[in-house]
């Protein structure tokens, strides 16, 4: 048995280290560790709760905006603030924008090179490539000339000897299966997506002033509607948003989805690899009628255990015994002993590094080995993210999810069981992107309708003044971040933050084992993954990337 280490795992956000034991060409055991910490939960203590969204926004610039959203909701929940309908629609639009951006960038810039051999694309025949491209999509950039120009450009780039970000990839690895032509399409769309992604975020810029890190506001949004004013949200701004939404939907339909469907058939074996836990957790999001009306959520909440889609459990974030965080294998210490689990309202974040002194070769995985805490739902390790959302939506019988999932399964000619896998995770992300692109246009229409009806309110400032707050209040704000269920728990005392705890999607997925030795999603998904060449563990990257890791989020 040999222990391999991949550190840094690249094409993710943050600092993730995987150690894996390989036996007979398969992963026998795996350990996932986050090796950077900033301790924002401690930094937040004593601050003004209304400012928290800005601090926690900086937890992550990749899934930017989602922490700010969760934070505003947590404070609003604590203080009993209900935001106006316009603000809800604008927040939903910010949310959808974030998804479309994050998922497309993940697919092309973080995940694609696990499947697409960039160097091999030089061998492609541009004419054949064009034919394939035109057969799968109506996307206009698909002429033979387009592909041959691109190929020339890449060729020159490769010949320069300065390979830049493409240097030292696992090019030529036996696990790459695509024909050269599809590799070339993948590369072309890598560049197209790079251009596209800077456009879609302009919706954040319009409503939140910038991206990354758009501005939020407790009580609503700061972007007032002033249909007759040049400096507020007016007809021009709204038309801009609408155009961006249409462009985004087109890109997803004409590029992202066709590419996924063109690549997947070559990797159907990955429909049986990397499934892992089989437990899925969703908090739900995209309210259509107020955050407190959970029935109106477009993403329904729920939990699934042991891949059993016939039963969806309810989730209660306020219950002391449902969501808990453990630290038995994490570099922290709890006042009440390191083996207990704490509900986030009672959460503690006290550092206690006991790992090896750097520079080190290996972590001592028998002890604490990560800066991630280990969250559990009713004691169960849960996977969160696109796959969980799509499965819960599917299991809850929501039409949109059923239609989208069934169509992908039938195109790929695979059974539903193939969803519980690395491929399933990657497909679920594309599926929900497509659903969301449509929803976003609904939300836009609702916003316009509401303004037409004469409601221009964007924020409720009634309780903004701390003098109107109770001496003590607790709140929880949740959202579905692109990577999964996200919750912020806040305790306010004397108008200040007394405790603030984040339990983040990647914390669920990438955490170390819990007190009972149960693995979390990454570690469990890696078990039995075939490894053709331990020197080039491409297969490990495939499964890990299918979760879209974000370690700055996970540790915060």
């Amino acid at each position: 048995m040999s222990r391999i280490v991949i550190d840094p795992i690249t094409r993710i956000e943050g600092h993730l280290r995987i150690e894996a034991d390989i036996q007979n060409g398969k992963v026998e055991n795996a350990y996932s560790s986050g090796t950077m910490v900033r301790l924002l939960e401690e930094i937040l203590k004593g601050r003004d709760p209304r400012d928290a969204w800005a601090f926690v926004g900086r937890v992550c610039g990749v899934c930017t905006s989602v922490h700010s959203l969760a934070s505003c909701r947590a404070v609003e929940d604590a203080l009993g603030i209900t935001i106006p309908p316009n603000a809800e629609m604008v927040r939903n639009l910010m949310f959808c924008t974030q998804y479309m951006h994050d998922h497309v960038v993940h697919f092309y810039h973080l995940h694609a090179m696990d499947w697409v051999d960039v160097v091999d694309s030089l061998k492609a025949d541009p004419k054949k490539t064009s034919e394939i491209a035109q057969s799968i999509s109506s996307y206009p950039k698909s002429s033979p000339g387009y592909f041959s120009d691109l190929q020339k450009r890449v060729k020159k780039f490769v010949e320069s000897g300065q390979l830049g970000i493409f240097a030292n990839g696992y090019w030529g690895h036996a696990a790459y299966k695509l024909p050269s032509e599809i590799n070339l399409i993948g590369l072309a769309h890598y560049l197209e997506a790079l251009e596209w992604q800077k456009e879609i975020v302009k919706i954040h810029t319009i409503f939140g002033g910038k991206n990354p890190h758009p501005n939020f506001l407790v009580g609503g949004m700061a972007c007032s509607i002033g249909i007759d004013d040049v400096s507020a949200i007016n007809a021009e701004r709204l038309a801009y948003v609408q155009q961006l939404l249409y462009q985004a939907r087109d890109f997803i339909n004409q590029v992202y989805i066709p590419d996924l469907l063109a690549i997947a058939p070559y990797y159907l074996d990955w429909g049986g690899i990397g499934g892992g836990l089989g437990n899925y957790l969703v908090y739900g999001d995209l309210p259509d009628n107020g955050y407190s009306d959970t029935a109106s959520y477009r993403f329904p909440a729920g939990a699934i255990l042991n891949k059993d889609l016939s039963k969806v459990y309810e989730v209660d974030l306020r219950s002391d015994s449902e969501v808990q965080e453990f630290i038995s294998n994490s570099w922290y210490t709890y006042a009440g002993g390191d083996s207990v689990g704490l509900h986030p309202w009672k959460g503690e974040t006290k550092l206690n590094y006991t790992g090896p002194k750097p520079p080190y070769e290996h972590l001592d995985v028998e002890q604490k080995y990560s800066f991630l805490k280990t969250p559990r739902w009713k004691g169960n390790a849960m996977e969160v993210g696109p796959l969980a959302r799509v499965l819960v939506g599917y299991a809850r019988g929501k039409e949109e999810f059923k239609a989208a999932v069934d169509s992908v399964l039938s195109v790929l000619k695979v059974p539903a069981a193939a969803l519980f896998s690395t491929l399933g995770r990657t497909a679920a992300r594309a599926i929900e992107s497509q659903i969301i692109a449509n929803w976003a246009i609904d939300f836009y229409d609702k916003l316009i309708q509401n303004i037409k009806n004469g409601d221009t309110r964007m924020a409720d400032m009634e309780k903004f003044d701390p003098k109107k707050w109770p001496a003590k209040a607790t709140g929880v704000g949740h959202t579905e971040a692109p990577r999964g269920a996200l919750g912020h728990w806040i305790v306010i005392e004397d108008s200040k933050i007394a405790n603030y705890q984040l339990v983040v999607p990647t914390t669920w997925n990438a955490s170390p084992r819990d007190a009972k030795g149960q693995m979390s999603a990454y570690e469990s998904a890696l078990l039995q993954t075939p490894i053709a060449n331990p020197e080039q563990p491409l297969e490990i990257l495939r499964t890990i990337h299918s979760f879209d890791p974000c370690l700055a989020c996970a540790v915060h």
Partner: protein, 375 residues
Amino acid sequence: MAQITTIGRKTYYDDIIEKGYSRRDFMKFCAMMAAYLGLESSGVAQVAQALQTQHRVPVIWLHFQECTCCSESFIRSSHPIVADILLDKLSLDYTETLMAASGHQAEVAKAKTMKDYYGEYILCVEGTVPTDNNGVYCCIGGRTAEDILKEAAAGAKALIAWGSCACNGCVQAAYPNPTSATPIHKIITDKPIIRVPGCPPIGEVMAGVLVHIITFGTLPELDGAKRPKAFYSKRVHDTCQRRAFYDAGLFVETFDDENAKKGYCLYKVGCKGPMTYNACSVTRWNNGVSYPIQSGHGCIGCSEDNYWDAGPLYRRMQTFPGFGIESNADEIGIGAAVLTAGGLAAHAIATNIRKNKLIEDLITEGKESEKELKK
């Protein structure tokens, strides 16, 4: 500063001619570039010269304690677009966010650039370096951030500190800074460092800084705080679109009130634009679409040192460290004024008691004189 690099490979000029452009196209491009960089017409020749003699500059981009928003912002650049920067302008040989290689293959790529281009490459740093507890709070490949930074800086031509993290510590260095998150210039002191603050900096600004270096082979001109003058010499407030309202004394009193709908100035709801040096109100964000103030929220001062600890976001005046979040200079001042007035009143009363004799003497003296005058 000397030219950044001239290694025997193809230049931009070769590049562009090979692509089928004419010399005239090339000169047009140079003129555009010169205008973009704010140069006089004589600058065109300089740009042309630079582009005809240079290669893709190798860049190593390190990530430490950060949120990666700086990388995200960088890929938002619209002019030039990042695909062109990556393929044609520089050679981004190491960045954990985008590079194909992982694990030791990634480290090998970095080591190769550090060796082959010793003294030539540009080192970009995103994030802070934790110095507490021997640096264990940020390790990559089993080594500390500090160790990695020092090694990479040794052979760098110059450093770029991206974003507020690398420039001033940003959020993780906010009180109580539990990991001793440290900005780059406090660790590397023997190399030129360009500080490009902002949380994050504007994508076009980041690209602009790199384009300047590539085009001229020199560092851009820096101000007293080592920021490129081109983007950080004016306050957000100086060219703010709401400035006329500021001068007219027309202010938003609370968010989304009538004044907000009219686009009045955000000064009283905590706008930090008057203290913040950044290009937001000129360059704006995401290809000029908007900037925080245009979209209704005040500037939070994200490009200024220590901005997280400069007091609550929605108060105009900053607090004083040590006086709690709710007290600002005016509250302390009014308190002191009341105390002083009380003290003076007490003093006046005490005077009338303790100096009673003296005062009586004076009064008698006055009365005596008065009497004498009558005589």
